[in-house]
Chain length 563, copies 2
């Protein structure tokens, strides 16, 4: 018996998909909707569909009762997504002592709601954010890879985001902070369902590393013009010059670059100001959105705690003293201020707040940031639990029990479907494509033991790299290797994935082969969509001359150099 | 500059010790007592002595006020010491979800008192237990090494234990469960200050591994007679036969072996019965001791969660399913029952309960037990934090604030001095030897930030292997290697000690050298004492013939074979 090679997997027939399409696995728990899930879900639905259907009636009744109390409206949704923070770094007081860190406000927030103890993300930023926005593994829409500088790619316009779903359901929608889903017009948040967006077009490599201060503090050397004098460096376009930084935009309008002048050089001061602006804007929009009649979906995706410049801190408040840990303390205060503002505005009871990280820390920055590995091994871009497991918390007073924990598996893509359900937008979820995100409303509202997932597919860019099923995790062997070469780990007994279980692998590789086969048959029935492609920085009304020039060069090599 | 070799260290003069003896470092915080501490303490006392003296007045007033409420008596002390359990395995609800384990009662107990987040132990059982009993690093009394079978050694009679100190102060004293401080009369607990003791003379290697069931479940193969047939094995004494198991004894009397007949073979059933008996006895003594006029010091040192036989569990209740994790669940229930009994007896408010582990898990048993590494690297017998850091909790309603955590450093030896202080026995602490244990009453009673230690000496048997000072930890290089070869870790930033800090080492090895020099000068002034030595199994009134025979053989090779 061999595990399918990647090529084989793509060529498998329609067995599982056909089972799905003829409804062999029992009645859908979402009778009002024809959302297509991955085959694995229907294996579970066949076993639990009846219980779930009953449970869904309870959930629907609770949501209806809530809307009745709330002038017929579903709740506001405030979604705060922290960048690169490993499991254990927030919301667990004991871990603050292990780390010498301070997250008291987030710890308190955790006590006010449900801590999701087994939240899986994708292995890095762009994929995780794409999964949340579309409810789909990013391999399905070409967003499995993180692009740092100009790429001319984005979340495709034909993808349907949670912002679009909730807009359709009557929500006002605002995005503030990191976006990282592409540098072309169709991918910008205000073209993906948000009424308003304020965001940097790129991510922290360009914002936090490519500064003179970063060179001085030895965080990144070799990029800064003038920081070395290499007569053999012939290609002047190798280092990007003319990057676009901060954009603001309203739905239906062109984006506008702000807070940066032509000819200026990006510095740490710009980066600092950017953090503060996003925090300020989040608080301001919270007030504006509260004043309106419609419910809101506000998402705030901060750039900190990725912070590399030690000189920006006058004194260090934590025992750890790393820039990341110190910056996390700032984030903690800021997050606390946002929760306080929700409470002050009197909308606590009708606002679902979800806080989580998008993936584990990038371990390469450990010594700078003050972090390092703890209970899970690895970090961002790995496929170990250290990359994929994050802290996640949900608060909704009166609807989500306070001071509770749940060990159920949940994936960041599940938030798409769950928010759609809670926001009354399930009927706006597209039914012509696979939605990996499952409705986990029961988990949020009924707590531990009410999850609907016992599997996660782990992709590394476009390659299936691991499959989690219950407490076992199989790391796929290289193409062509026999199934017994797969490493299977028990993530309870061995959270750091150090001791592969040979006898379990001998059994489980066969069962995993079935799981993968079903998954690949669904892929064959619903082929992957393409990433959006366009001229970089399209849709920006005030592109600086140096940006135009950089894009021209980019387009020119794209068109002409491959002869 | 070089770090001192071990030889050199032993030969250093009296510089630091003389500083101590002339009182250069300021007035003692314990003016009523002339306890001799290690030199490092006086460095701290010189900086904080005034504050501590004032704080001690507050503590003394609080303790006096307590005694007034409590008919003039100091509190009962119930000390539960769990064997081999790594940091994170109890008292932190979130970690139960990481591990698939269940410690709900201990988690609740943690909420009722103070969690000590930086409790250091010695690296293994005998040294940790010796440190707690005597307040001294076990290198000072020859107990740095764990002996598993017959050794003819023990905690020396001239050592003064906390049980003796508290007996002198008027306490009734009982020891139940694991002892592991020697196999000769002078070392047995009823000869070391306990009015009554019920304990196995050896530890779990002999109790849990050397059984037919352990052979069958592949936990330990090769020992069981008949489990292999090796014609080349000439020495029939190599495998011990005739071991003594469970003893009971009263102060001033001979010990008596119980629950085992001559000619019997030790089995898992005996081991199971032993666990249950110690639990039952603890509850019974709790009742008896409560009925008496004097305060009590009851220590319960369970043998579980070291449990290797899968067949003893009818069903597994945890998601993890390892025998150790399942056994920990049982321990959790049993500990909860004990706390309930304290509450039911109406002595909650006048009983200080301390629960902790003696050192990290022995990583070699990971796959059997269901544990594995988490936030700290390594385990028992290592000198990494994974060996030394354990969870510790203290409850004393009305005196110790509930639901609090403290990040202060504390060492298991500090409990000796702290219990002596709280029990009113400080004047019975000997003053003719170094007491490493510091009075941490202020930490228990005033909480976070009131600790009196920022250093720990880490010995591996009789060799100084590491020194923790504040957040830095220096692993000593091999003898003769230069100081810059020492690895220094920041335990907040790098709790797994994976990234030695070269520039810090270049500075810190010099500062550490001073610390070590001071420490070694104190050793020179107060030389190490000898371990107790005698005929194994002395002081047992009903030694079985096979035990007599085994001891005779042991004594014979000791006397005759080295020619």
């Amino acid at each position: 018996m061999t595990l399918l090679s990647r090529e084989n997997r793509r060529q498998i027939g329609l067995w599982a998909a056909s089972l799905v399409s003829v409804g062999l696995f029992g009645a859908s728990a979402l009778a009002e909707n024809n959302i297509v899930h991955d085959a694995e879900y229907y294996i579970l639905e066949a076993q639990h569909g009846d219980v779930w259907a009953k449970e869904d009636q309870t959930i629907e009744a609770r949501l209806a009762e809530f809307r009745e109390r709330n002038n017929g409206k579903p709740p506001n949704i405030l979604y705060v997504l922290v960048d690169d923070l490993s499991f254990g770094e927030m919301g667990i007081p004991e871990m603050n002592y292990v780390r010498g860190s301070q997250t008291p406000r987030i710890n308190d927030f955790a006590d006010e709601g449900l801590s999701l103890m087994r939240m899986y993300t994708e292995p890095s930023c762009t994929p995780s954010r794409a999964a949340m926005m579309t409810g789909r593994h990013p391999v399905r829409n070409g967003l499995g890879e993180v692009k740092a500088t100009v790429a001319g790619e984005s979340l495709a316009g034909k993808e349907v985001t949670i912002a679009e779903v909730l807009s359709e359901a009557g929500y006002n929608t605002v995005h503030i902070g990191k976006w990282h889903l592409g540098d072309i017009e169709e991918g910008y948040p205000h073209n993906q369902g948000f009424d308003y967006a304020s965001f940097p077009i790129h991510q922290q490599v360009l914002l936090g590393f490519m500064t003179p201060e970063s060179d001085h503090s030895q965080a990144m050397q070799g990029w800064l013009p003038g920081s070395s004098n290499d007569p053999y460096a012939l290609d002047a376009t190798f280092k990007p010059d003319g990057l676009v930084y901060s954009l603001e935009a309203r739905r239906g309008e062109l984006a506008r670059e702000v807070d940066f002048e032509a000819g200026e050089r990006w510095t740490q001061a710009h980066y600092d100001a950017m953090h503060e602006k996003y925090q300020r804007e989040t608080l301001a929009h919270l007030q504006d959105l509260t004043a309106k009649d419609e419910p809101f979906f506000l998402q705030y995706w901060p750039l900190i705690p990725l912070e590399f410049d030690r000189t920006r801190f006058e004194t260090f408040e934590t025992a750890n003293g790393g820039t990341g840990v110190e910056s996390l303390r700032q984030l903690d205060t800021w997050f606390g201020d946002i929760v306080d503002e929700v409470d002050r505005l009197g909308i606590a009871d009708n606002t679902l707040i979800v806080l989580m990280a998008d993936n584990g820390r990038f371990r390469q920055f450990d010594t700078i940031l003050g972090f390092s590995g703890t209970m899970y091994r690895g970090g961002k871009v790995d496929t170990t639990e250290g990359a994929l497991r994050v802290n996640a918390f949900a608060r909704w007073p009166g609807m989500i029990a306070e001071d509770t924990l749940a060990g159920d598996m949940i994936h960041i893509a599940d938030l798409f479907t769950t928010f759609a359900r809670i926001g009354g937008g399930l009927n706006h979820v597209p039914t012509d494509r696979v939605i990996d995100g499952l409705d986990q409303s029961a988990l949020l509202l009924e707590g531990d033991g009410h999850g609907r997932r016992d599997y996660v597919f782990v992709y590394s860019t476009d390659t299936l790299s691991a499959v989690v099923k219950q407490k076992f995790k199989l790391e796929l062997p290289p193409p062509g290797a026999p199934g017994v070469a797969a490493a299977v780990y028990d993530v309870y007994r061995d959270p750091r994935e150090e001791n592969p279980l040979t006898p379990i692998a001998l059994w489980a590789s066969a069962s995993y082969q079935d799981i993968i086969e079903r998954h690949m048959k669904t892929v064959q029935k619903y082929p992957h969509a393409e990433v959006g492609r366009d001229r970089p920085y399209s849709g920006i009304e005030n592109l600086r001359p140096e940006s135009e020039e950089m894009v021209d060069k980019f387009m020119s090599w794209l068109a002409e150099t491959v002869r």
